[in-house]
């Protein structure tokens, strides 16, 4: 499917700040059968935008604004062609990916509760286990915006029993890893045909690695596999590896964040 994304992030400050450095992972990936047809990034104040590719092919853009300012805006527009499901390109994990996607990470620590939760749903076959876990996370957690924040870890989400897409993904990743199934976090967008295109378009889900067949991509928030409505921006061990924007600045101002995302089929 051909999708157009419009993503505007505005940071406002109650006093002047300076020397602001911002990093962004906003360009749709060219991987997994997905193609980024166009990408345009504009910032205010304007700065020279620099770029690098991370090892896992995440595209990172960054810029700095040294002069004092009270508002910083990042606006990206992209067009992307999505496949009907993830088309896996690697059938064997590198030793580092094998380690990273099995070991506990910042937001997916290893704990007894997750282990107990995950063990309940083990099947004979890794693929069946992953689907059983997805269903378990989907039914066990209640989707409640505001119940958690971006720093909530998987074990706390499980205790709380509620969260948002990021939390669903983290609990499922932690559960897969407990069962020896490599799992990674996916940051991206979701085109929801039922909505007007403005509702919760930023999204997060996960990939699980099935020995012998490769990565499959699952969304525990909706209890389904990745479809052509999903746009992938970046993959990592968990959220902390791939925040869409991250920044530091000089000043004691209070920051207010406003994000507007829309996804439309073309």
């Amino acid at each position: 499917m051909r999708l157009r994304i419009d993503h505007r992030t505005t940071l406002s400050y109650d006093q002047q700040i300076s020397e602001a450095y911002t990093e962004m992972r906003l360009k749709p990936m060219d991987a997994g059968g997905q193609r980024c047809l166009s990408f345009n990034l504009v910032t205010e104040p304007r700065g020279e935008i620099m770029q690098y590719l991370e090892r896992r092919r995440n595209d990172v853009r960054h810029f700095d604004v040294l002069a004092p300012h009270t508002r910083l805006m990042v606006h990206s527009t992209s067009e992307v062609l999505t496949p009907i499901k993830l088309i896996d390109e690697e059938h064997e994990l590198s030793p580092l990916d094998q380690f990273d996607f099995l070991m506990p990470s910042t937001y997916t620590p290893e704990d007894a509760k997750t282990r107990r939760f995950a063990t309940t749903f083990v099947q004979d076959d890794a693929r069946d286990t992953v689907f059983a876990l997805m269903h378990a996370v989907y039914t066990h957690l209640k989707y409640v915006p505001g119940a958690t924040d971006v720093r909530t870890k998987a074990d706390d989400v499980l205790t709380l029993g509620q969260g948002v897409c990021q939390d669903f993904a983290h609990v499922m990743i932690a559960s897969c890893r407990c069962q020896g199934i490599p799992a990674r976090y996916v940051s991206g967008y979701l085109n929801d045909p039922a909505s007007d295109g403005r509702n919760g378009a930023s999204h997060a889900w996960m990939d699980a690695f099935i020995p012998g067949s490769g990565w499959i991509s699952l969304d525990p928030t909706h209890n389904c596999e990745q479809t052509e409505n999903y746009v992938r921006l970046a993959v990592g061990r968990d959220y902390s590896d791939v925040p869409p924007t991250r920044g530091v600045f000089k000043g004691k101002a209070k920051e207010t964040l406003d994000v507007q995302v829309s996804v439309h089929p073309l």
């Binding site: 020397e19 450095y21 990093e23 700065g47 020279e48 620099m50 690098y52 090892r55 960054h62 700095d64 040294l66 590198s94 030793p95 580092l96 094998q98 380690f99 990273d100 070991m103 991250r246 920044g247 530091v248």
Partner: protein, 491 residues
């Protein structure tokens, strides 16, 4: 009065007397009681002419000059901000040329292999793919930095300055105790000790052929310049310090002054469009090489700890773009992890196809089940070390530990086996050291400084550290150790 009389009597007594006890150790000066090793003979003859009174006077003069120059260090884990003089012992350690020759070749070989290893783990990871070192040891190391993967650094050198700690066992064999590839400190003491000795024993320097070390700052500067981005020979080099409260601040300012470069704190630098600039009274000036004495975690709040106030935001991006060189590189700590240390001899075989010239201390990894059982059964005999700590912190010296201390380590080892290694207690060699009016045997080690840039080089000697607490095996300056001048002799 009794005390005055006692003092007078002792001050006229020679400092070299029949009471010196070699003990069951390798003594650096004496091969048997009263018989000096050949390279110590001139020194011993001179010391024999000194009595405690004259020696004490010279010692006080040396101590005062240290205090005036501010050569002090801060002790962590004690009351904040305690400044002490780094205790200096006037009896020098002497190393014959042939012995140094082996050390120099052995250390160059070791640092070359370690730099190959760093390049490999941040590129192809051949050594892991070929299962010469367990993947989990490398990837699980606290200082393995994923963002360094595929970044090319000038001349493929990561550890530009390495301080490797050498000890000698009861037979006098040199062994590598650990490598320090992050920000090894202490080189300023090596240089200052030499100055103090030249002032105190001017005549001895005329009689002994002692190799100079005074050119170290210039060698360091040329090493740093040789790894500048794009091979720029006129590169601007600065030294980045955490600030005046850091325990090694004296050394930072000393080295910057000696090299004639600016000493800066994070707030003095600014990143713009992937280049690093220094704020000067005449505006921004581009910086090419940063000799940084700030840990990885605190270098850049954009990339690492956001709470760091001593870093430079955007520095890692400028580094990745190749516009600035960091010495040492980010992520060198993976190679001085104490569990990975155990594999350095294998690295020498693997990357250089050579036999290691210097041996490691036998090391047990708590991570391995067999090793762990052995460690837990022999806690009272072993030295247990935490893999990521340095400076003698987080360490258990079994034979000197209480039962409670042993039990605390037992629990920690069982809970976090990857974090601990153990080594047999080595009877460190001893060196005559002036304590309370006479010479006593005290344990020593040696930290030579290896510079790697266009070439690998060392100045002869290094910092000899001495355990001034009687019987203590810990020679770190932060643990009550002192130091001596180290004389490498000409052939």
């Amino acid at each position: 009065m009794m005390t005055t009389e006692a003092m007078n009597r002792s001050s006229t007594q020679p400092i070299v007397n029949g009471d010196y006890d070699i003990g069951a150790f390798f003594d650096e000066m004496f091969e048997s009681p009263g018989v000096p090793r050949p390279h110590y003979k001139i020194l011993l003859d001179h010391l024999t002419t000194l009595n405690a009174g004259t020696f004490e006077e010279r010692r006080r003069a040396a101590d005062i000059s240290f205090l005036y120059q501010g050569i002090t260090f801060t002790v962590y884990g004690q009351q904040e901000g305690i400044e002490r003089i780094f205790p200096f012992d006037l009896i020098p350690r002497v190393i014959p040329h042939a012995e140094w020759d082996i050390l120099e070749r052995g250390l160059s070989q070791r640092v070359t292999a370690l730099n190959h290893f760093l390049h490999d783990v941040y590129h192809e990871q051949r050594i892991i793919a070929e299962k010469r070192i367990p993947a989990r040891l490398v990837f699980g190391a606290k200082n393995f930095r994923r963002e360094m993967i595929d970044i090319d650094v000038p001349r493929s050198v990561y550890a530009h300055i390495t301080g490797t700690d050498l000890i000698r066992d009861e037979h006098g064999n040199y062994l590598v105790l650990e490598d320090n590839l992050r920000s090894p400190s202490g080189v300023s003491y090596m240089l200052e000790n030499r100055q103090a000795m030249k002032r105190t024993f001017a005549r001895l320097f005329e009689n002994y052929g002692i190799m100079p070390i005074e050119h170290y700052p210039q060698e360091l500067l040329s090493t740093l310049r040789s790894v500048a981005p794009h091979g720029d020979p006129d590169a601007t080099v600065v030294l980045l310090t955490p600030g005046v409260y850091n325990s090694a601040y004296f050394e930072h300012s000393f080295l910057a002054r000696q090299m004639g470069i600016e000493i800066v704190e994070g707030r003095d630098l600014v990143t713009h469009d992937n280049h690093i600039y220094m704020r000067t009274t005449r505006g921004l000036k581009q910086v090419d090489v940063i000799y940084r004495r700030v840990d990885d975690d605190f270098l850049d709040p954009l990339a690492y700890r956001q709470d760091s106030l001593i870093g430079v935001p955007g520095l890692i991006n400028a580094y990745r773009a190749g516009n600035v060189t960091l010495a040492n590189a980010i992520g060198t700590g993976v190679a001085d992890d104490k569990a990975i240390y155990a594999y350095v001899p294998d690295m020498i075989h693997y990357y250089l196809g050579e036999e290691p010239i210097l041996q490691n201390v036998p090391t047990f990894l708590a991570e391995n089940d067999l090793d762990r059982s052995y460690i837990l059964a022999n806690l009272d005999k072993l030295v247990v070390k935490s893999v990521n700590e340095s400076g003698g912190y987080g360490m258990l010296v079994g034979p000197h530990a209480t039962t409670e201390e042993c039990e605390r380590f037992r629990e920690k080892i069982q809970a976090y086996p990857r974090d601990f290694i153990a080594q047999p207690t080595i009877s460190l060699s001893r060196h005559p050291t002036y304590l309370n009016g006479e010479l006593s045997g005290c344990h020593i080690d040696l930290r030579p400084y290896v510079l790697a840039g266009e070439t690998v080089k060392l100045v002869p000697g290094g910092l000899t550290r001495v355990a001034l607490r009687r019987g203590s095996l810990v020679v770190n300056s932060s643990q009550g150790g002192g130091s001596k001048d180290t004389w490498v002799l000409y052939d």
